[in-house]
Amino acid sequence: MKLPGIVGVVALAVAGVTCAGQESQDPVELRRRLTRALDRGEIATVERELSGREADPTAGYLLAEAAVHRGRARRADSLFRRVASVPGPLQALAEIRRAEGLVGSGSAAEARRTADQVARRLESAATNTALDWLALGIAYEILGAVTPAQFKDALSALDRAVAADSVLIEANLRLGQLLLGKYNAPDAKAAFAEALRRDPGNTRAALGLAEVALFEGRPDTYSLVEKAVKAGPGLARGIAVLARMDLDAEQTDSALARADLAIGLDSTAERAWAIRGAVLLLRGDTTGFRTAERLLRSHRPAPGGFYAEIAGALGRQRQYAAAARFAAEGVALAPGDPEVLTALGTNELRLGQIESGRAHLAEAFSRDPYHVWNKNTLDLLDDLAGYRTISTARFQLVGAPDEVELLALHLGPLLERAYDSLATRYQYQPPAPVRIELYRRHADFSVRTVGLAGLGALGVSFGSVLAMDAPSAREVGAFNWGSTAWHELAHAFTLGMTNHQVPRWLSEGLSVLEERRAKRGWGAQATPLFVAALKGNQLNPVSRLNDGFVRPRHGHDVILAYYQSSLMCEYLETTFGFESVRKLLAAFRDGAATGPAFQASVGLSMVELDRRFDSWLRTRFAGPMKSVAALRDSTVGPGELQLAMESGKRFRGAKQLDQAIAAFDRADRMFPEMADGESPAWFLAELYRERGDLPKAVDYLARVTRLNDSHYRANRIEAELRAKQGDDRGALAALDRATWISPYDVAMNEEAASLAAKLGATAEAIRFRRAVVALQPSDRAGAWFELAVAYRNSGDREAARREVLRALEEAPSFEKAQMLLLELRGGRP
């Protein structure tokens, strides 16, 4: 018998364990060795070794754990009960593990009674072993379902278990799971890492780290899970995580196969059943789903986690209504389960059912006050109550009270136009009103979307509910809020007309394509990185385009996937006509997989389509591919283009303008369609401006603004130079483009209004004058007066009178306004 040297560990005085021929007869060593085997998914090994030894407490306990891994709840219950009936070091742990099983089998009240008894006993004990501390931690976890504060007691007890026995890995693993369950990824990660440090090769710990990566959305998640599953193929949990990730990548065949494999290992694995159920639902197989549901419920009568997982999976497939429906079923069965309440509330919010969503999240939060997502979302909803809504014919624009009027002024007409344009093109009309929320803090948008701050996206579409950053949420030039809104609205069409069954890549690709069609310069355009990826064969084939969105290997994969997807859509439209896109969407609506959907719409196999698209891309980018180095993994070597750019910058720095122009001109000829903010065209525009050659500067600026929808400075300079050259119309267009990057500059709006008035564009003049008023300038009376003039010029004398009276109420002595008032009343000014 080996006595551990760590304080708090009691030597196990277990008599009668005499199994000749076994590796170790020491019950402590036996438990540790076989627990390690269980943690590696070697369930059969444990069962084999301990076969026939159920009467021995250590063996019985381990066999019970093996039964839990296999989902054999009754056998586990019986074995734990037997161990719990025998005084000894595993008694309390067996008792509480049995209670945990009771929670799953629908006897939560009995489980809590047991947990309470165990907790009281251990709390009053003079000394506790590490196993007792572990048992106490589990007891507090169970009690935490109704007394959330006991979550902290659980953490403390588990910490003491860890401190008491450095090889009791279960306590570390429990800590990790508990913390991850409370959305505390950093501490969960530390706990799993500690477990792995103490037991290198512990598959459950590796899987825990992979789940943290999944939570954090890290690109290496899939490979981490795969690695863990490879190391411990007997663990159902890891396989279920892979199934979930396959489903998220819309690879339903693989997801189903893996879910079934996990269920084969553990017939009570709720996550695996949920993925199986979700796949069946997505395929329209309601009968199959109900069968799966019945089978699971034969083991677990009220599986809230199952419904929460289904709702999560469906939500990630953008099936928000179905997600809310199944979450509601879960709430009906497990009314107090915070996980399923959260799933219901979250999806209701996505559907625009704000009050009901808020109520369910509040209920969830009252039961689990450590839930960061719910806390953030409820705080956001409190803020949202102070937001204002402005309605147009088919839209509700929701924004911060001090800017929503300004934003709606520009965005309302744009969205109405977008709706008409897209409805004609897609021959479909999403349900109105469409709600669009504009967040002035990116963190709020992020919380609205994923419950946590830190999301990189600009906007999101839940169907007829859209959310996005307001232009004030980001640095000027970071994005184009008009094209973003157009993009998100396009999703409402592609999601709606396919019953939300459009693959992510296609929905994103079409949205980007629609941006490009909407206005000159909008939408993603070609970059050297894209060309480098094409040249380096780093782009995914069409059949795996989704991977770029859901399983990016590198940070830039998502950006590349957006543009590539949009090019695929462009290819389809230009080669087969837009009707082929509508047919493709119809095929997805009818539940077709990607291959058959393409076969039905364009008559090509995926292999042939991949080949033709690749050829189309290489033809289209043949020019720049000659001058850009290939992307290898995530690095690009210096190509001719880059060398020319660097040369140009060097010459410019040395004030050698002729040489700089020559270098940038060379670069420009290599890749004239380059859309980066610092393109050759941008530098050439600057250089020609410095030289005073305004026509040339304008030509290059026009190219910059045609290819880059967020280049605020280029648009402002273009407007200035065009105005100087007498091109008022061009100047106004440039200012209008700048407005979609940042609408907050009073002087810019005034300038645009003046140009519009000069050109007789009265509607535009009114829009920009109204924008000035909405910006609450220092000169409010002046702003109202100018708006009155704009209305007067448009022939709307009543509106002019209303506005001039506002001006005069603010500034009664305002002479010009007085004259206008008299004029409007019919007198001479």
């Binding site: 004030s472 640095e475 000027v476 907050y744 500059d745 009073v746 300038p777 220092s778 000169d779 409010r780 009376a781 002046g782 009276l805 005069l808 109420e809 603010e810 500034a811 009664p812 002595s813 305002f814 002479e815 306004a817 007085q818 004259m819 008032l821 008299l822 009343r825 007198g827 000014p829």
Partner: protein, 306 residues
């Protein structure tokens, strides 16, 4: 103390003292010289301030000898205030504009000048000589907040660019305040004069907008103290165009009518919240039209007068 506010609008003389402090960097020296020069030009061209009523002290008077009257030492500033007090009449308006870098040592706010700094107590002591005048002190320096309390008093409008000595970054407030003094945009009530309150509001708003546009944390919070509940700051102002006085009795009558209408509008606006909106709008429009007609008549007479 109640100030006869109406008197501030008419027939008072304005004295102007501009001080630009130690710049530290050429960029500040150039920017402040431009600001100071702009105030001096406006004072001469628009407010009718004669050379004898203008003091412009700077770190280096050689930069702009046509406008700058001396070096901005502590003693020179205090002497200039003493000089103004001797030449100014009762009820005149004195504008003291301080531009520069400030600091706070202990509880003592300072403006950094060549030689000893100018402290808030120094200035408070000197301004006692101007108890019969309306004094507008604008300290646009960084860390200027401590001047507010030290200088507050009867017939004083005190404006500082920051709320405390802890706001030590170079400020933008002075730029916008000086812009406001000559800007139609700052003349919110369009009466042809920019009041101290209007200039303060304009500058504060534009500072906030500039920081917001630049996505920078606002590090200067301007403050205004008025010994008369804000009324003094609203009353004391600076003309955007030179005042002209007509001797035509018809104009005098119309001007009296105009004042009556303006007072009626002010009174009506005061009870807006308690008035039915339709009735309010009707009465407002009636008064505004009458006011517009009165002004139209004044202009017509002035056009006829050679």
């Amino acid at each position: 103390m109640i100030v006869a506010l109406g008197s501030l609008l008419f027939a008072v003389q304005t004295q102007v003292v501009v001080v630009t402090g130690l710049s530290g960097e050429p960029q500040y020296a150039a920017a402040w010289a431009k600001l100071g020069g702009s105030v001096v030009d406006q004072a001469k061209l628009r407010w009718g301030v004669g050379d004898s009523s203008l003091v412009y002290l700077s770190e280096n008077p050689a930069v702009d000898p046509a406008r700058m009257t001396g070096r901005a030492s502590r003693d020179a500033v205090l002497a200039a205030i003493g000089q103004v007090s001797r030449h100014t009449a009762k009820n005149d308006v004195v504008l003291l504009l301080l531009i520069g870098h400030g600091s706070e040592q202990g509880d003592e706010a300072r403006l950094n000048l060549p030689g000893p700094d100018l402290t808030a107590p120094d200035l408070a002591q000197a301004l006692r000589a101007l108890s019969d005048q309306t004094v507008v002190v604008v300290n646009a320096a960084s860390a200027s907040g401590g001047f507010l309390k030290a200088l507050a008093g009867p017939r004083r409008v005190v404006i500082t660019a920051t709320k405390s000595g802890f706001e030590r970054n170079a400020t933008m407030f002075g730029d916008f305040f000086v812009t406001a003094l000559s800007s139609d945009a700052a003349d919110a009530d369009k009466n042809g004069r920019v009041s101290a309150a209007e200039a303060f509001q304009y500058a504060s708003r534009e500072v906030a907008r500039a920081y917001e546009t630049g996505k920078r944390l606002l590090t200067e919070h301007a403050q205004l103290d008025d010994s008369n509940g804000g009324a003094l700051a609203r009353a004391v102002g600076f003309a955007l165009v030179p005042d002209t006085v007509s001797s035509d009795p018809r104009v005098s009558t119309l001007v009296a009518e105009r004042r009556r209408l303006e007072a009626a509008i002010t009174e009506l606006r005061g009870r807006k919240a308690r008035t039915d909106s339709t009735a309010y709008q009707r009465e407002l429009e009636h008064l505004l039209v009458s006011l517009a007609e009165a002004n139209q008549a004044i202009r017509a007479i002035q056009r006829q007068t050679p």
